[in-house]
Amino acid sequence: MSDTVIPYMVKPHPVTGIPNGKFAIWLFLASEVMLFGALFSSYVLIRTGAPHWPPEGGLSSEILDVPKATFNTAVLITSSITMVLAWASCKMKNLPKFKMWMAITIALSFVFLVVKYFEYAHKFELGHTPAHDNFYAIYFTMTGLHGVHIIGGIIVNFYLLTFGSKLWKTDPEHFTNRVENAGLYWHFVDLVWIFLFPSLYLL
């Protein structure tokens, strides 16, 4: 790359108290809040405009698979905890432990996706595609976009677990910061699910 030295890549800025990367990730999360905020608002608008919700009758909690989603909620929350432990291991200068916790985090993300796959497959079997009605349209769009964020998180975490961890040898502090930033993102994705679960499945 370039030989230009960018200040505050690793060390925190004296005034803001955080390095560049952490600042950027918070800004990114702010924009993500706007993205999901717009989707939640659309959901509210379409739902309040409908004579009955779900349009085909019944209750959301009967149409959607609440036990599977509850299990998935537990999986995601656990993965957030293991993510914190991965970061804490870096802070304690223990790379093998970091690798273990990070691997568990990634494994849990896959568990989430597999469960989600079975949920989706069941809906499609019944012919409940997004085109069926707006209830399914909202359900698939919002959980789908959330799923894309999970996949994004898996890619980042996988990079940090494998190729990215080379940075540990040269600059452990920088690497730890990266893990922290990935963690911030991962907690956000988790948080979105915490909102999605009750508002789609339970209400």
Partner: protein, 595 residues
Amino acid sequence: MSVDTHAHTNGNGHAHDHGDRGHGGHELPFWKKYIFSVDHKVIGIQYTVTALVFLLFGFCLMMLMRWQLAYPGQPAPALIAKLIGENAMPGGVMAPEFYNQLGAMHGTIMVFLGVVPLAVGGFGNFVMPLQIGAPDMAFPRLNLASYWIFLPGCILMMCGFFVQGGAAQSGWTSYPPLSDIATTGQTVWLLAMVLIITSSLLGSINFIVTIVQMRAKGLTFWRLPFFVHAQLVTSFLLLLAFPPLEAASVLQLMDRVAGTSFFLPSGLVISGEQLKVAGGGSPLLWQHLFWFLAHPEVYVLILPALGIVTEVMANNTRKPIWGYRLLVYSVIFLGFMSFVVWAHHMFMTGMGTTMSTFFQTTTMIISIPSVVIVTCLIMSLYGGNIRFTTPMLFATAFLPMFAIGGLTGLPLGLTASDIYLHDTFYVIGHFHYVVAPGTLFALFAGVYYWYPKATGRQMNPTLGKLHFWCSFVAINFVFMPMFFQGMAGLSRRLYDPTVYMHGRGVQPLNVVISMGAWALGASQIFFIINFFMSLKTGEKVLENPWNATTLEWAAPSPPGHGNFLTEPVVYREPYEYSVPGHATDYSPQFVAEGN
């Protein structure tokens, strides 16, 4: 940053020859230096050139449309008809579908592929890090990614013209249900928008982090040039306003690809047949999501322009900007308010008087900081020792043009008058006065002003003045008559303006406008020649040809990799011109007291 060995006081009068610009002492291969460069200056120039090309292209689409508007149903000149082809122009007469494509793509290209990339991607990238004394952006590789996501987005947008049914033709606003049932071109439009939005999102994060974290020593917020303040507020608007459009684009994509009905109401009948969808959606939802982006977007278009005008004006009036802090407060207030005025685009949707009153009030409030800014700039002219250089001509012309655009907006912000004027040519006249002779003139001022910094050569002043005067006269012939047409009730987006009786009375004005538009097109030839010719033959300059005070003029022209030869330190506020008792009429930010 490695430092050159020879003594350098950041002053003027040194002739530098940084031919290789490789401070690290190694030469990068061509593709790394100019194509996939991580240097903010190269990326800025890439954005600038791409955006200028698209501005020209978008303007060409409009010049084509102007033929149909001036001479409805008459065959276009044979050469043009042949160039466009039989499909779009059967027998030389423009097909209505093609006219709609031109209209939708003109708007999209000018806003998302032209003005924003030039104002933010181009000038923001090139000038902002220099003005804050940073060696580069905070995330150079992210910057590279922004451009290389943006460019495929642009190319994809152009591909729309070649798919079945042609490009998007539902207007740049893409209102459903029309856009939901439109041809494939609309899907291409949506996919391209997702790429462009993602690119500007990455860019805005980079800008904010850079401005907050990487300012040079001594450069406090109250010492930042106004341009940087404008870029900071713009970046926040891009960061927070674009995601809702991304969400809306995803929803519309779902409607079109997966058969959902987010924007399709129940019982929609098309060509006498009921549409086979689930229904239950809301076309108005799109309008809310779209305008929640697109109103802040208006300020994304204008704020960087205000920044450029302020820089050029301080430099050419040779006095400090009047009310610098007032300008900064106003621009921040504008940024906040721009999020709560969006529904003034929707007065005709029957949203009720309570909502209308709310948005009417916020709209009137947002005009206050805009007027404050214009007033500050006019006050800055007062008593100045004005140099009418080419950039200054464009910057001076910006003021009355922007003022006309702004003031004609007031009747549109009040429901009573908007009901009559909504969707007429009056609206077109209004926002074009803000964006074309407003923002675009400011951007031209920026090109003429910073060209020496980017290339080390001045642009030709004679050609520049010709460019200015011809454009200035022509552009007013284009947009001024539109107010009269609009007040006569002529609707925008009409393929043939003479179909209605009330349109026939103002039809001669359409000929005037078209002549004006073609003359405006011809005037740009001066600019194009000047832009390329000056690369070779322009007068060579040192680091500070305009005797300016801000930090970018401390770096060599063109700046090398890493920008500054010594780490810049800032000693004073940005516009210290004509300080009493000082030997020169400018006291640069980067020169210590007594130098």
